[in-house]
């Protein structure tokens, strides 16, 4: 494969049989990414997919790129090592709500705060798919699943809020079946320098079917999808029932009102402000996506990339001290000769 070749989806599609349940949302994400990568100018040989364990984490096997299917929850840490050793690569991390937020939550937040140049896709299906249906940290309260016959009692985590609390420089959210939106957000993520965290609502047809219908059911979606676009006032809903997101009156935070009542209070979205407070406030519009829910890019700011700074220090050290030499290393400190 030489630089000149124009690549297609096929160049990113491995020969491995795809093994998800028929109807699983993972298929759509896979297809969207396989067809997006050539457009982005990515090269299979310099692309690496790193995943943990879960249905979603089977992803690397289906990409004809380099890949690591690792162990449960550790993909961000493993990918960080790869990134530090090889800042030249395009590294994607694929994880699930269990993999990335339950066992792997800590590695995730540390990768984000460090701003390692990883594109982290969290397939959130609000369930443990691979182990056949236990509730997850994103499952809504009262979820009846295998380990919670009387309903879950753990308050769920909102991945976008958590990522923002962890100093993430890029935070986005999209939906498995909306290929256009998905590809657009993934493109933004790819183009961001540093950690890009993207939550993808993904339907698990077998163990948690329909939890995202508020956003995927055609009739509901028009009312519920708050599409964030940089520089645009945040409005949503059908023409005849258009809503706007405004500063909360007599308090702090954001709230939804009829466009008519918004006046000039409608918030204009702004992804690159250093202060993540707006992005955070927007993320609170929907703790779980049962009603109006923002999707799109919440935040995208510039901050030095971790591994580039590591390499920088190495280069500075070489510039300052000269390339190291074992003999002089060994002889550093006091030496004496015995003859």
């Amino acid at each position: 494969m030489t630089e000149a070749t124009t690549l297609t989806k096929k160049d990113f599609t491995s020969d491995q049989e795809v093994r998800w349940c028929p109807g699983c949302g993972d298929y759509a994400i896979l297809a969207a990414l396989q067809s997006l990568l050539p457009d982005l100018g990515a090269r299979p040989e310099s692309t690496v997919f790193v995943s943990g364990i879960g249905c979603s984490s089977r992803f690397p096997y289906y990409m004809d790129t380099y890949g690591m299917h690792t162990i449960h929850g550790r993909a961000p840490a493993i990918a960080t090592g790869l990134a530090v050793a090889r800042p030249d690569l395009d590294i994607w991390v694929v994880t699930g709500d269990g993999d990335g937020l339950s066992i792997g939550g800590n590695h995730l937040i540390h990768a984000l705060r460090r701003n390692v140049n990883l594109k982290i896709l969290l397939f959130n299906n609000e369930i443990y798919g691979l182990t056949k249906g236990q509730y997850s940290p994103t499952s809504r309260l009262g979820t009846v699943a295998k380990s919670t016959p009387m309903g879950s009692v753990d308050h769920p985590v909102n991945p976008v809020s958590l990522a923002l609390g962890a100093e993430a420089t890029f935070v986005g959210r999209t939906i498995d079946t909306d290929r256009k939106h998905l590809q657009e957000i993934l493109r933004h993520a790819y183009e961001h320098r540093g950690s890009a965290f993207v939550e993808i609502y993904q339907n698990c047809i077998v163990f948690n079917d329909g939890v995202f219908t508020a956003l995927t059911d055609r009739d509901a979606a028009v009312h519920n999808r708050i599409e964030l676009e940089d520089g645009q006032p945040i409005e949503f809903g059908p023409e005849d029932a258009r809503k706007a997101v405004v500063q909360r009156e007599g308090g702090f935070g954001v709230q939804i009102v009829d466009v008519a009542d918004a006046g000039d209070r409608t918030i204009v979205h702004d992804v690159d402000r250093e202060d993540p407070s707006l992005a955070f406030a927007l993320s609170r519009l929907a703790v779980t996506p049962t009603g109006p829910t923002p999707i799109g890019v919440f935040r995208k700011i510039d901050r030095p990339v971790y591994e580039e700074q590591v390499v920088d220090q190495v280069e500075q050290a070489v510039a300052r001290k000269g390339r190291g030499d074992i003999r002089s290393l060994l002889e550093s400190g006091n030496v004496w000769d015995v003859t």
């Binding site: 364990i53 380099y66 550790r74 960080t80 590695h107 001290k321 190291g324 002889e331 003859t339």
Partner: protein, 630 residues
């Protein structure tokens, strides 16, 4: 101990001795480690052989003046080859009552004790748990006791500094360790010039502190020279070390240097991912200073991320290393299994400490051998290598890297708290004699135009290593069982059995490239003393003592614990008795019994300290004199 010959010079008599063990002991805040380090440097400069044993309280500062807060540093130096920091101190320098209380039991009754009388206030005595003042109640009779008001003498010497407000009284007092160092340096005829240079360098930004410390140092020296307290001083002649260039080195530093060297020898970027933990942290610290070698260090959020990052780096083609101590190694277990399945090179270092659990973080132990062997789920064999002395950590690191790279396997490298922090003179190796560790990455298809990531070298059984960036060799690794050759996921029963056997066979194949176990045996030796890791020094010391008594004995030391050298079974079977001293409850003994069905005489102590040569000597003699074949 001190087969003394005497010559006189001026009014101070000089005595020639062959070897001395000096122990500095004081409060954590008294700077005993620094004093010991400097005394070691002076001693190295004289050309003595030496070995050190730092011993400090577990990680937190204990209250000043208490026994829990005592920190000590022992140095053994001599005019001949030695291997241990010494069983018992000939000279104890005790900076306060607690230090005396804690260390007195180790001093032989005719030993020399220098005490700082200023550290024996009523408060000091109480904190140390003394009912009466041992300096006054006669309880130290028999010892060669030198009560000196070290603190007062120091502050008197530094009066000017305090008066001129260049120093606070506290700062002046803090120089008392330099007074002690000066005095002991005088006693043993150590040159203090280098220490003076060192102080000037260290306190560069505060010259008044440098001056004060130098003044205290000289005051100590002059105290020895001029007062009547000491009627003789000692000379220890340079040891007859093999010719070469020498330096002092601790195990952790040598290990870090070995890793840097392995990076250079392999031509790969050295990547280190780890999380701080006593006593392994210094490896990270040392490596983070070697950035000009291209070394990339990553202080991870935990140990799992430490090894995880190393696995990622290895996939990217780096020489990947992680280090920790027992509890951290436990956390890495799952990921070690992944590296095993990936068949990627990763060097995993365990600087062992007292266990179980948090255990004794600052103390030494050898109790993680079985964890290294079996501390993972499934059949997950990996090579295990151990270092035997501080300087040997350098070579052990290179050997671990060699095996990891040549066989594409995680390798466990074992050292311990004793090796990590002790120092010894090191005859620097000839850099050109170090092994070539270069690796060839796969660059194209290896099977009929295809690339099979699990195609193996027939000799080493190492699989081909293709790194991202190489067009056409794109492949995916995973922790699920993989099909022989293709590396695809495979649930096939026969394949799983075959791959399990292959992973075992690959580790076994390492034996072909490791030397036979060398045995240092006297004719007529009935007892073989076998060791591994840091028992090297104590065993050599004990064997020497036994030989000095005219008793024949044999000695061998294992660098490779998995696989064993091919001749090991024969060696074990060729002696009446095999004595295996371990700082654990018999871990290697278990492996040997299981492998060779031979009885092994275990000698096990877990006290957090290295063996004393005397206890091993006694064991050897007893076994030698015992009847029959075990």
């Amino acid at each position: 101990m001190t087969t003394a010959t005497t010559e006189s010079e001026k009014d101070v008599e000089r005595r020639q001795v062959h070897g001395v063990v000096v122990r500095f002991a004081g409060d954590s805040g008294d700077g005993m480690q620094l004093t010991g380090d400097r005394f070691t440097a002076e001693t190295a400069a004289v050309g003595n052989d030496l070995a050190t044993l730092p011993d400090y309280p577990a990680e937190i500062r204990a209250p000043a003046g208490t026994i829990a807060g005592v920190s000590s540093f022992q140095l053994h130096f001599s005019d001949h080859d030695i291997h241990t920091p010494g069983d018992a101190p000939d000279v104890l320098v005790a900076m306060n009552a607690a230090a005396l209380k804690k260390h007195l039991p180790d001093v032989p009754t005719d030993g020399t004790i220098i005490v700082n009388t200023d550290g024996f206030s009523r408060g000091n005595l109480k904190k140390a748990g003394y009912d009466s003042n041992p300096l006054e109640d006669g309880s130290l009779e028999g010892y060669r006791l030198h009560p000196i008001a070290i603190t007062s003498l120091t502050t008197t010497a530094l009066e000017d500094f305090v008066e001129s407000k260049a120093l606070t009284t506290k700062e002046a007092q803090r120089a008392k360790n330099m007074f002690a160092l000066g005095l002991v340096s005088w006693m043993y005829s150590r040159p203090i010039e280098r220490t003076i240079e060192w102080l000037e360098d260290k306190f560069g930004s505060r010259p008044e502190l440098a001056d004060a410390n130098v003044k205290a140092l000289k005051a100590g020296w002059n105290f020895g020279e001029t007062t009547e307290v000491f009627t003789f001083k000692y000379d220890v002649a340079p040891a007859e070390l093999p010719p070469g260039r020498y330096r002092n080195i601790t195990g952790n530093a040598a290990l870090a240097y070995g890793l840097v060297a392995a990076g250079e020898l392999s031509g790969l970027t050295l990547f280190y991912g780890g999380y701080p933990i006593t006593p392994a942290s210094d490896i990270l610290h040392e490596l983070s200073k070697q950035k000009h070698f291209g070394v990339r260090t990553f202080q991870a959020e935990d140990e799992i991320a430490g090894i995880g990052s190393a696995i990622g780096a290895a996939f990217g083609g780096a020489l990947a290393v992680t280090a920790s101590s027992g509890p951290g190694i436990a956390l890495k277990a799952e990921a070690v299994g992944l590296a095993n399945m990936y068949e990627l090179p990763v060097v995993i270092i365990n600087v062992m400490r007292g266990g179980p659990s948090t255990g004794l973080p600052t103390k030494t132990e050898q109790s993680d051998l079985l964890q290294a062997m079996f501390g993972r789920n499934g059949e997950s064999p990996l090579p295990v290598v151990a270092a035997s002395s501080p300087a040997d950590c350098f070579h052990a690191a290179i050997e671990a890297a060699r095996i990891a790279l040549a066989y594409r396997t995680p390798v466990m490298l074992l050292t311990d708290g004793y090796l990590a922090n002790s120092a010894e003179p090191w005859a620097l190796p000839d850099v050109d004699s170090l092994p070539d560790l270069t690796v060839e990455f796969a660059e194209g298809p290896n099977a009929d135009g295809e690339f099979l990531p699990y195609k193996r070298d027939p000799d080493t059984l190492a699989r081909d290593w293709a790194v991202p960036g190489t067009p056409g060799l794109e492949h995916r690794l995973g922790g699920l069982e993989k099909a022989d050759g293709t590396g695809h996921i495979s649930y096939d029963p026969g394949n799983h059995h075959r791959m399990t056997e292959l992973r075992h066979a690959k580790v076994a194949a390492v034996a072909k490239t490791i030397p036979d176990l060398e045995v240092d045996a006297d004719t007529g030796a009935r007892v073989l003393v076998l060791g591994w890791g840091s028992t090297y020094g104590p065993i050599r010391g004990a064997v020497k003592k036994v030989r000095d008594k005219g008793v024949p004995v044999a000695r061998a030391h294992l660098r490779h614990l998995n696989p064993f050298p091919e001749n090991l079974g024969d060696v074990l079977r060729s002696f009446d008795h095999v004595l295996l001293p371990e700082n654990n409850m018999g871990q290697l003994a278990m492996l040997l019994r299981a492998e060779f069905l031979v009885d092994i005489k275990r000698y096990n102590r877990v006290t957090g300290l290295p063996f004393r040569t005397s206890e091993l000597e006694a064991e050897i003699l007893e076994l030698h004199n015992s009847g029959g074949v075990a």
